[in-house]
């Protein structure tokens, strides 16, 4: 496959599409599919055939605002329809060529205006199971450009220049990581994509893998060329069967097109990818645990160094990046590092995809430039807190992150600002909480999660999270004293300092951040035996009653 052949494929897709007067794109991502989008698509195909109009009905991945689903977009007019069901199919088809159907129209201009789509540029626009659709939108151009026009060092340089930082949560500079693996001595290097999106309440990586799987594969192949690897693994949660099936199809099609396999693009570079299934262990998001799991063992982490860059999968130098990190690579190669560097804030470049959920009007997937204020995400993109309730906090970073109180919504979203506020960027879960959420209970929820997910290898995490959970349960059921609070804080410090891996080191974050901003709620539970949000069922002892 050469760039000319790639362009030929793109041209024939455009020519084929040009035969139609309009396109009806139907979102078939999980949220829309769970509301009958499958039946809707069938009905649209049928209605389009019956109408005799030249209409292309296309299955696409996630369009974004899931709470308004099932979503349909008619192009080229770019009319977005919301809450469409199969019964609306004929109405939509017969409106084509004339004014749109007013009662189905979705006015989310503000929601989209604030967003910048880099990672999600194809989501909702291509059929994720058609490699030619991806190619028609510059797919695999970056890979072939890199192979033909750039040296591996040049690729590393461009990624470094872009300022991209790891999107899995840690924010380690991607170019630096690539450079380290590239310089590592030894053959048989590996590239691993971490698709073990274990953070509950986050689904960015699922959506990217399902809506635009080739983008991940292309990013991995470019990385492999840059670091000198010839074999890659995508580690995906078994809980994401659709992502697994889409990636399987994508790998097969890329092999058929000669975009994976030996001597790609006529160069001497060979690369192939295999999928490995996770089996439901949050700790496997930690890179050394993930490696153990790919090797078929229990997913327990080991001390670093050596880092995977020096000794990873089967002892070989290994590059591990998150799904979204790889998804950023093709546009960086195509548009240049400076282009990417120009977006975002001072030390956090580019965009970030967030899964916006919880007590917010527009739930779904959003992509925003780094540095955007939380307030803009919540009020403008998210449409605010519904049902007359008041915003209380925004949780980012999942079980490793923290809660940012409503007063701090002026905060710009960046790795450093979120960390300074006691949370982390994390992989991109953003859960909005209103006045009906109890912050002590929220902390207890996350600690219970970490307790269950602790692999048990080191004592601070294994025993510490269990004791933290007991103390938080006591606070929630009304049997705690102020001494317990002191003990809890003490324990948080120990678990944070002494745990072996990121899971334990960050497990106290939800407790520490809620203690920092919502200490009065803890005190209210302990001293007055009252849950201000009315969530916890406190057992009120007799002496307080009297």
């Amino acid at each position: 496959m050469t760039i000319e052949e790639l362009e030929q494929i793109a041209r024939s897709v455009h020519e084929e599409n040009a035969k139609y007067d309009c396109e009806i794109n139907v979102c078939l991502d999980l949220a829309c599919a769970s509301q009958g989008a499958g039946l809707l698509k069938d009905a649209l195909v049928k209605a389009a055939e019956a109408s005799g109009k030249k209409v292309l009905v296309r299955r696409t991945g996630c369009m974004g605002p899931c709470s308004h689903g099932p979503l349909v977009r008619v192009d080229p007019a770019q009319t977005l329809y919301r809450r469409v069901n199969a019964g609306d199919a004929e109405k939509i088809v017969s409106s084509l060529g004339g004014p749109p159907v007013p009662e189905l129209q979705c006015d989310l201009n503000e929601h989209f205006e604030k967003q910048v789509r880099v990672v999600l540029e194809n989501a909702g626009h291509i059929d994720p199971e058609k490699i030619d659709d991806y190619i028609s939108r510059d797919g695999y151009k970056a890979l072939l450009t890199a192979l033909i026009e750039m040296t591996p060092a040049g690729v590393v340089h461009r990624v470094t220049e872009s300022g991209l930082r790891g999107r899995g949560g840690g924010g380690y500079p991607t170019g630096l990581k690539w450079g380290t693996v590239a310089k590592a001595a030894g053959s048989g290097k590996y590239v691993v994509c971490n698709g073990d999106e274990g953070d509950p309440g986050a689904f960015m990586d699922r959506s990217v893998m399902e809506s635009d799987p080739h983008r991940v594969i292309e990013g991995m192949a470019i990385a492999a060329y840059a670091v000198g690897a010839s074999k890659g693994y995508i580690y995906v949660r078994a809980e994401y069967p659709i992502a697994v099936s889409r990636l399987t199809t994508a790998i097969r099609d890329a092999r058929r097109r000669g975009l994976l396999g030996s001597e790609i693009g006529g160069s001497s570079f060979s690369f192939d990818v295999e999928i490995r299934l996770g089996a439901g262990a949050f700790v496997c998001g930690e890179e050394t645990a993930l490696i153990a799991s790919i090797e078929g063992r229990r997913g327990t982490p080991r001390p670093r160094p050596p880092y995977p860059a020096a000794s990873g999968l089967w002892g070989k130098p290994t590059l591990i990046n998150n799904v979204e990190t790889f998804a950023n690579i093709p546009p960086i190669i195509r548009n240049g590092g400076k282009w990417f560097f120009s977006m975002g804030s001072e030390r956090s470049k580019g965009t970030k995809v967030f899964a916006l959920t919880g007590k917010i009007a527009n739930t779904g997937l959003v992509e925003v430039p780094m540095g955007i204020k939380l307030r803009e995400i919540i009020d403008v993109i998210g449409g605010g807190v519904p049902d007359g309730h008041k915003l209380k906090a925004v949780q980012t970073g999942g079980p490793s992150g923290g809660c940012i109180p409503a007063e701090m919504m002026g905060l710009g979203v960046s790795y450093d600002a979120l960390m300074a506020a006691g949370s982390i960027m994390g992989s991109g879960g953003m859960i909005v909480m209103d006045d009906t959420s109890c912050m002590v209970n929220v902390a207890r929820f996350f600690v219970e999660f970490c307790m269950t997910e602790s692999c048990g290898k080191c004592i601070p995490c294994r025993a510490g999270t269990a004791q933290m959970f007991t103390l938080l349960t006591r606070i929630c059921d009304g049997s705690a004293t102020m001494d317990d609070l002191v003990l809890l804080e003490d324990l948080c410090a120990t678990v944070k300092e002494a745990s072996l891996c990121g899971l334990g080191q960050t497990a106290p974050n939800p407790v520490l951040s809620t203690l920092k901003y919502f200490r009065d709620e803890y005190v209210e539970h302990i001293v007055h035996k009252r849950c201000p949000a009315g969530v916890c069922a406190l057992q009120v002892p007799a002496e307080v009653m009297a």
Binding site: G201, S293, T357, G358, G429
Partner: protein, 165 residues
């Protein structure tokens, strides 16, 4: 040193051939353990002693290690599932939207705790860590089919349909 011969299939059940196929595809390499256990579970619904023993022998993995892997990962089950499975998501978004109430009402109706199956083997109640449909929380899977914005009444209605069929 003689060549290793994999053990014979435990029975003439065709599903063992599927399991064997996964191992063969991976050249009976030890690192195929988790992949193979996935195939066993998707073919048989769960993992029992015989299947773990067979996989361990075929891949030349110590039985203790195979058992260690099975019990480490939440996805693997050592108990046969019921005829139907109700899975309630307890991810963060679902928790914020009240999934604990759904779990409580299902527990009460079925008389079993999460992870258990009703005495007649009809319904298993499971709690998921997160199925990634957070934008439509709270989410419930009825025999794998995802429903969003689920109410307690809808959960009970689903259990009722399964109970009377």
């Amino acid at each position: 040193m003689h060549a290793f011969t994999p053990p014979p299939l435990p029975s003439d059940d065709k599903r063992w051939k599927i399991v064997n196929g996964t191992m063969r595809k991976n050249g009976f390499a030890r690192h195929a353990l988790i992949e193979t256990l996935h195939t066993v579970q998707s073919s048989f619904g769960y993992l029992d002693d015989d299947s773990i023993r067979f996989v361990a022998q075929s891949l030349r993995v110590p039985l203790s290690q195979a058992y260690g892997v099975v019990t480490f990962y939440h996805y693997f089950s050592l108990k046969p599932p019921g005829k139907h499975t109700l899975t309630i998501c307890a991810g963060t978004a679902c928790y914020i939207k009240g999934s604990d109430k759904l779990i409580a009402s299902a527990e009460k109706r079925l008389g079993v705790a999460p992870g258990q199956t009703t005495g007649d083997g009809n319904i298993s109640l499971m709690v998921a860590r997160c199925v990634g449909a957070c934008s439509r929380a709270p989410v419930v899977l009825s025999d794998g089919e995802v429903s969003g914005e689920v109410t307690g009444d809808q959960v009970l209605a689903q259990l009722e349909r399964w109970a009377v069929e």
